[in-house]
C-alpha cells in the first residue's frame, strides 16, 4: 500500500492553457498591427450543461468522482481599439446535485447533497473576427447543502480560474449567437469541469 495525495498534472495543464491564451492575443496583434476602431462595451450571456471531474479522492463511500451539472454566466467586457478586452464575469454553477439511500444497521436514510458556485472573476478575452478566447481569473463562492435527517448549509470562497473559447454569428441589431466551450478549474479543491454552451452576445455601447 502506498500513499499518494496530489493531482499536480491537472494544474499544470490549466496553467499551460492560460499561458497559451494569454500569448495568443499578443501574437495576433504583433501579426496584424494595431487596428484603431470603435471602442465598445459588450455583454454576453451563456448557458449549458457541465461535466465535472472531482480529482481529490478519496471521498466518502457512495460519492462518485464525476458529475453532470449546469452552468450559466454573464460577462461584461470593455473592448478598446485592441484585440484584448477586459471585464467582469459572474454567474451560477451547479457542479453536482445527488441523492442516495444510506443504509445503517438500524435504519435507512435518504441523503441529498448539492454543490454550487458563484464565480467572481476578472475576465480577459481576445476577439479576432468571429472568434473569442479568454480567461477568467478570480475565485468561486462555493455553497453546499447537505440533507439527511438534518439540513446543513455552508459556503466558502476559493480561488479558481476559467477559460472559454467561442464563435459567434451576427444575427442582426448588434446581437450575436454561437457555441462556446468553458473550462473551470478549482485548483485547491481539485474540481475540473468542461461545459459546451450557447452564447448570446450583444454590443451594449459603441463609441
Amino acid at each position: 500500500m502506498t500513499a499518494v495525495i496530489t493531482r499536480a498534472p491537472a494544474a499544470l495543464i490549466v496553467q499551460l492553457a492560460l499561458i497559451i491564451l494569454a500569448w495568443a492575443p499578443a501574437r495576433a496583434q504583433q501579426t496584424d498591427g494595431f487596428k484603431l476602431g470603435a471602442f465598445r462595451v459588450e455583454t454576453e450571456l451563456c448557458a449549458g450543461p457541465l461535466y465535472s471531474n472531482f480529482l481529490k479522492h478519496p471521498y466518502a463511500p457512495g460519492e462518485s468522482d464525476n458529475a453532470l451539472g449546469m452552468i450559466t454566466f454573464a460577462r461584461v467586457l470593455w473592448h478598446p481599439d485592441h484585440l484584448l478586452g477586459v471585464g467582469l464575469l459572474s454567474g451560477y454553477i451547479l457542479f453536482v446535485s445527488d441523492s442516495h439511500w444510506r443504509v445503517d444497521s438500524n435504519s435507512s436514510t435518504e441523503v441529498s447533497g448539492r454543490l454550487t458556485a458563484i464565480p467572481l472573476m476578472i475576465d480577459v478575452s481576445m476577439q479576432k473576427g468571429h472568434f473569442d478566447v479568454g480567461a477568467g481569473l478570480g475565485g468561486y463562492i462555493l455553497s453546499t447543502v447537505l440533507t439527511d435527517s438534518a439540513t446543513s448549509r455552508s459556503s466558502k470562497f476559493e480561488l479558481g480560474i476559467l477559460a472559454h473559447a467561442s464563435y459567434h454569428m451576427p444575427i442582426g441589431g448588434g446581437w450575436y449567437l454561437g457555441p462556446e466551450l468553458v473550462i473551470n478549474f478549482l485548483s485547491y479543491r481539485g474540481i475540473a469541469s468542461v461545459a459546451p454552451q450557447l452564447e448570446l452576445k450583444y454590443d451594449l455601447i459603441a463609441y
Binding site: A11, A26, A60, A150, S152, F185, S187
Partner: protein, 407 residues
C-alpha cells in the same frame, strides 16, 4: 500590451499554482520481517542505543539512535528529520531487519535492510546474553552500505521526558501516509519517537466533540464533495458519512480517539488543545472518562485539558466540572498556579528558556513543557541541563534523535 500579457500570465500562474500541491510520497504503510525466528522480547533492549558511523554513505549522518518501538526496530537522527521503521527476525545467529527510511521534510524514502552478524550482537539477540558490542550493517535501496556501531545506551532523564507529536504525531504536510489528528496517526506516532501527542478539539453543529484542527473544512484536511466551510455548520453524522480525512480515515470523535490511544498504544500523555470554549464542560467529561478508562486498564497515561487562551480559561473557570481533571496551562505561571488541578505549565519556546521560572514551577510540583519547537539548534538548547520535562514538535523523530543521544 506586452506588460498586460505578462501580468496576466503571472496572475494565471498565481491563481492556478500558488496553492502548491505537495508532491506525493510513496511510503510503505506496513513493514514485514524477513523469514526467520522472532526476536525474543527480553533480548531486544541489547540493540537499543546510540550508534556512530564506522564507514559507508553519509546519508544519515555520523550518529543515529536505534530504539525498539514494540516489535519494530526504528532509528532516528538528530541532524535531519529522518526515521526508519523495520521489522526483524533471526536466521540462525544473524538478525535481519527489513523496512524503509523517510526524510520527513522531503519526498525522499527508500528501503532499509539491516543486519547484525553473530559476533556483532546476533548471538546476544538470540540468547538474550550481554554483548560486548553491537554493529549494524545497513543497506539502503539495495545498494548503498553503511556500518554503525553502538557506543552508548539511550540517554535518559532523571524525570520522564515527553516527546510530544503535534496534531497526533504529524501534520498532513509531512505526508506520512496517515492524516493529521487521525487515530492512525496517533498509533503511528510511537514509530516517530513520540511518548505523547497533542491534538485539537472542535465541536459539531449538534454539539459533538471531534478531533480536528481547523475551524473550517478545506482540501488541506478533508476530501469531500459536500462537506466544506465551517465545522460548526455540519452534524456529526454528516461529517462522519460524507467527509474523509486526507488519507481516507473518518474524522474521529474525541471518545474514539482517546479510547484508541488508551487501548492500542503505550503513549503516556495526551494534550487536548481546546478550540471550542462553548463545550468545555463536555470536554472535561470526556477527559474524565478517558482518564478513568486508562486507570482501569493499568495504563500510565494522562489526558490533559489544555488552556491556550484567556477565552478558554474563562470558559473553564465557569464550567461546573472545572478543577476535577488535570490541566495544562499555556498562559502565565501565576495563572497556571491559580488552577487547582493544573499539573503542567507550557510556555511557548519563543519566549526563551525562562530558566528561573521553569525551576520555580518545577519546585512547586509542576512539569514544564514547551511548544512547538522544530529547530534542532533550539531543541538542543532546551534539552541542555534536563530543565524542561518535554517538548511539543512537528518533528518528533528529530527530537528523539537528539534526546536519546544527548550524552
Amino acid at each position: 500590451m506586452r506588460t498586460t500579457v505578462v501580468l496576466l500570465v503571472v496572475a494565471a500562474a498565481l491563481v492556478a499554482g500558488c496553492i502548491s500541491q505537495l508532491n506525493p510520497v510513496s511510503m510503505p504503510l506496513t513493514v514485514s520481517p524477513p523469514p526467520g525466528m522472532p526476536i525474543d522480547t527480553a533480548a531486544r533492549p541489547i540493540v537499543n542505543g546510540v550508534y556512530v558511523r564506522d564507514n559507508g554513505d553519509e546519508i544519515f549522518g555520523d550518529t543515529i539512535v536505534v530504539r525498539w518501538v514494540h516489535d519494530r526496530l526504528c532509528f532516528y537522527t538528530g541532524t535531519q528529520v529522518v526515521f526508519a521503521e523495520t521489522a526483524g527476525a533471526l536466521a540462525g545467529d544473524t538478525a535481519r531487519f527489513d523496512g524503509y527510511y523517510r526524510f520527513v521534510r522531503s519526498v525522499e524514502t527508500g528501503s532499509v535492510a539491516m543486519t547484525i552478524l553473530p559476533e556483532e550482537g546476533g548471538i546476544a539477540l538470540r540468547t538474550g546474553s550481554a554483548s560486548a558490542g553491537v554493529t549494524v550493517h545497513i543497506v539502503i535501496n539495495g545498494s548503498t552500505s553503511i556500518t554503525y556501531h553502538r557506543v552508548a545506551p539511550l540517554a535518559q532523564s532523571a524525570t520522564p521526558f515527553h516527546i510530544i507529536g503535534h496534531r497526533a504525531g504529524g501534520r498532513n504536510s509531512e505526508r506520512l501516509g496517515r492524516s493529521e489528528n487521525s487515530i492512525a496517526m496517533a498509533r503511528f506516532s510511537e514509530i516517530l519517537g513520540c511518548t505523547g501527542v497533542e491534538t485539537d478539539i472542535h465541536v459539531t453543529r449538534d454539539g459533538e466533540l471531534i478531533i480536528f484542527h481547523d475551524e473550517t473544512f478545506s482540501p488541506r484536511t478533508v476530501s469531500s464533495m459536500y462537506v466544506l466551510g465551517n465545522v460548526s455548520d455540519f452534524t456529526l453524522r454528516q461529517i462522519r458519512n460524507d467527509a474523509r480525512l486526507l488519507f481516507g480515515e473518518p474524522i474521529p470523535t474525541v471518545e474514539e480517539f482517546l479510547n484508541a490511544i488508551i487501548d492500542s498504544t503505550t503513549l503516556e500523555l495526551v494534550w487536548l488543545d481546546v478550540k471550542a470554549p462553548s463545550v468545555v464542560e463536555k470536554i472535561i467529561n470526556a477527559q474524565r472518562v478517558a482518564n478513568a478508562h486508562a486507570r482501569n486498564n493499568g495504563r500510565n497515561l494522562k489526558v490533559y485539558f489544555g488552556v491556550p487562551s484567556q477565552e478558554v480559561l474563562d470558559a473553564y473557570r465557569a464550567a461546573p466540572s472545572a478543577n476535577t481533571e488535570p490541566v495544562l496551562c499555556e498562559l502565565a505561571p501565576d495563572i497556571a498556579r491559580s488552577l487547582p488541578t493544573c499539573k503542567i505549565w507550557a510556555p511557548r519556546w519563543t519566549n526563551g528558556l525562562q530558566a528561573d521560572n521553569v525551576r520555580a514551577m518545577q519546585q512547586a510540583g509542576y512539569e514544564v513543557l514547551t511548544w512547538t519547537l522544530d529547530s534542532p539548534e533550539y531543541m538542543t538548547e532546551f534539552l541542555n541541563g534536563d530543565v524542561y520535562n518535554g517538548i511539543l514538535t512537528n518533528y518528533p523523530s528529530m527530537l528523539a534523535g537528539l534526546y536519546y543521544a544527548r550524552h
